[in-house]
């Protein structure tokens, strides 16, 4: 109701000068490059590196895209509660332009990753792939990748830079502008994430298809992004940053979203699996039959770890309002979001069973380090809360009833 709100000063909303995260850009960037270099040179098998890299890429991209979606939707829905956490989501989506660089290994390794359909010699003997060639061909694939990456670059830049501009300008004009542009933004986002999911993950097995695929990649990305948003804020809070600004009321809401999208992910994943299983048509069931053997253990682990455990754990109100429990849940959920991507990508390489080696670990750590480096760089460059937002008071005063 806005009557008892104590407005924080602008200084209180910055990442403190002595905060350890100010070192993350340098450390993260170095660590990331070292990890990639070691994985590439010491691993030996470049094929394995590329697949491990792709899995790490799609997972980290999901974190950034989910944060972009969060930002877009808060504007589209004129949300008030989320103002104090929105900048953090904006910082987590801000690395999206860097994914252009991170995409380069996939670009150069495209013939290894997608050789089934990208090598014309190989594909022309396969009538199904010949039929798909108008879509699945090298040139169009590259054009589409350029489109996705530019759309994300523009969206993340537009929504963060305007929000930062509002910190000094204030007023309602920017809020209105962002709200109006969020609608086409959501459409562009929906189409690009769908087809990116198809291009970069579904086409690993070019015979297989599922109309749900885009939604599936979207669902996993959203869960991971909500969990990361919660985790980032909880880690900031451990050193007293944004104390009294982002309160347990906001954590509670983020926890509810993690819970809700965990259920949504399970709903989408179950529907996809169940319909394919029930109809039992060979060209569809092959996705799951390729994930037999020890891969099916990971599939079962996803059911339990990506759904059942967080579902039951996050159901209680006090769990979501108590920092240590919510933090544990966020970390858990993020780990399983990675495993979900791993389950999608890696069986194309490890055809005979589950494996997780040093290369995979190094790629993951490298990718996340670079992502963290860029995200913390953005955190340090502007206030951690969009304090020029006209709905700031509403967000500060927000309580769950």
């Amino acid at each position: 109701m806005g009557h008892h709100v104590k407005l924080p000063t602008v200084e209180e909303l910055q990442l403190p000068a002595d905060h350890p995260w100010r070192n993350v850009p340098k450390i993260g960037m170095t660590l990331g490059l070292v990890c990639f270099a070691v994985a590439w040179f010491a691993g030996g098998d470049h094929h394995q590196f590329l697949f491990a890299y792709l899995a790490a890429f799609l997972f980290t991209l999901g974190l950034a895209l989910g944060s972009l979606f969060f930002t877009l939707f808060q504007h589209a829905a004129s949300a008030g509660w989320s103002v104090v956490v929105r900048r953090t989501a904006e910082n987590l989506m801000a690395p999206l332009p860097v994914f252009i660089l991170l995409f380069l290994p996939i670009f150069f390794g495209r013939h290894e990753l997608y050789h089934h359909w990208m090598d014309l010699e190989h594909a022309k003997h396969d009538p199904i792939l010949v039929g798909k060639a108008p879509f699945l061909n090298e040139g169009f694939w590259m054009i589409r990748a350029a489109v996705y990456l530019s759309v994300w670059t523009v969206l993340s830049w537009w929504f963060r830079s305007n929000s930062v501009a509002q910190d000094t300008e204030g007023g309602e004009a920017i809020t209105r502008k962002l709200q109006v542009t969020s609608y086409p933004g959501v459409i562009a986002f929906g189409l690009t994430i769908t087809f990116a999911g198809i291009d970069w993950a579904m086409s690993l097995d070019p015979h297989w298809y599922s109309t749900m695929w885009g939604v599936y990649y979207f669902a996993n990305s959203i869960v991971s992004a909500f969990a990361l948003l919660g985790l980032t804020l909880l880690l900031l809070r451990e050193r007293g940053v944004l104390e009294g600004v982002v309160t347990k009321e906001h954590y509670h809401d983020i926890g509810k979203f993690v819970f809700a999208f965990t259920v949504f992910w399970a709903y989408i994943g179950f529907s996809q699996y169940f319909l394919i299983w029930y109809a039992n048509i060979p060209e569809e069931t092959m996705f799951y039959s390729h994930r037999g053997g020890s891969w099916s253990n990971l599939g079962a682990a996803l059911m339990v770890g990506h759904f059942a455990i967080p579902f039951l754990f996050l159901m209680g109100r006090s769990i979501k309002r108590y920092a240590p429990t919510l933090k544990a849940a966020c970390i858990w959920v993020i780990v399983f979001c990675f495993l979900d991507i791993y389950y999608v990508v890696m069986p194309t390489h490890y055809k005979y069973g589950f494996s997780f080696g040093l290369t995979e670990l190094l790629c993951l750590v490298g990718m996340v380090s670079i992502y963290a480096a860029v995200a913390t760089r953005f955190m340090a460059s502007a206030a951690l809360v969009p304090h020029g937002d006209p709905r700031l008071k509403e967000s500060l005063a927000f309580t769950n009833f």
């Binding site: 004129s78 039929g131 015979h207 989408i268």
Partner: protein, 508 residues
Amino acid sequence: MGNPAMKVYTEADQLSYPISERAPLVLGGNDFHGVTEVVTGLVERKPNWKWWAALAASLAMLSVYGISVAWLVWQGTGVWGLNNPVFWGWAIVNFVFWVGIGHAGTLISAVLFLFRQKWRTGINRAAEAMTLFAVACALSFPTIHVGRIWLLYYAAPLPNQMAAWPNFRSPLVWDFFAVSIYGTVSLLFWYTGLIPDLATVRDRARTKYRRMIYGFFALGWRGSNRHWQNYEVAYGILAGLATPLVLSVHSIVSFDFATSQVPGWHTTIFPPYFVAGAIFSGFGMVLTLLVPSRKWFGLEDVVTIRHLDNMAKIILLTGSIVGYAYGMEFFIAWYSGNPYEQFAFVNRAFGPYAWAYWIMLGCNVITPQVFWFKWCRTTPWFLFIISIFVNIGMWFERFVIVVTTLAQDFMVSAWDYYSPTIVDWGCFIGSFGLFCTLYTLFVRFVPQVAMAEVKSVMKVADPHHPAWEHAESVAAPATDEGASVAPPAAPDGGETAPDVPPSEEGAE
């Protein structure tokens, strides 16, 4: 209603409110008492001839349903236009159509509740009532579709001496559970929200029978703090339980089709696509009902232009999601490389039922795009027209899915063209008779707007509202957290307070 302490808000205020505050949801300077008068007045006044005319017309349509069903039961389902291969005709189309419509009510009262969308309070009562009536219409179709309706109980897992159990692997049995659970929870939810309002009608009743009947259904509600607390807990729990139901019902309806191997039916996006379509059609029907009734019943201050604006936005969103699903189905049908999949979709768009396909696409995906423009979202008559398009489009969606897919199945020699008979028409139009009859009775006997909930989201419900300042000498309004939900306790007999006579909140 003319309380001088209240600021008079207009539609123009509402649409150009500063972003830093939330626009008012009740217009016209109404205080709590004003809302009570606007809403319960409809239940208390004697109905005019127009209501009787509406009831007569609805009953006439309902009798068409009765006659059609009687003839159907007497003769068997052969009186429908069913043929080989179209074994599922209009009955299933109508079933899915009505179940879909039934989704808006629970979405508004459960999902929008969880998302703290306060505007839902103005429309949730009517939308939930519509949900119940739509579910009733929906359930009637599988019932009559079994042909021998006296054997319907076979669908329930009842112990019986024949040891004949329903096949639990059949989606049709899941439907039986899904829809009946949905109907039950929706009814409970609707009724829970009704209790405080029924008590208001009881307390204002001038005749003995009226007091007794409304008093019976009000379950002894006195509006005490304890009552409100229990009410809020019950409402929250029901909202939590109903939210997955919003998703599950139409997902399971989609399984009726998608678990099969029939090209055009078997596709993995069906569950969320059906859910989005159901919400879309439900909001279409809510608009169809509320745009005229807010005018006829003088509810324009409570069901405001902003409510319509928001509903139009949801229609635009869900219509676009449906468009995404249509596109994705088409794209993947081509991408699959499966000639049967490809045929099924090309045949939909350019085959003998192309007219139905393009009606569907035009009404569901293209027409709602007008809601990008504010004028279209805030002009009631225009909204009404678009809502009719939505209703038509969503009926045709089910027609396209059910009939066009079956009519051209695997064996070319079996292909046939489906045409409805007069009994099909009778059942379809008659089901609107059932729906309209129930809705006409609803507007007469039940408060059409959730008064207690609307009061809780009014500006004056804020304990710091200026209208309360000069009332402080009488009694301080409650300032605890609950005040944001339950209306602040009326200062007892406070003649300057902007609230209602004590009778309304229930005298202890």
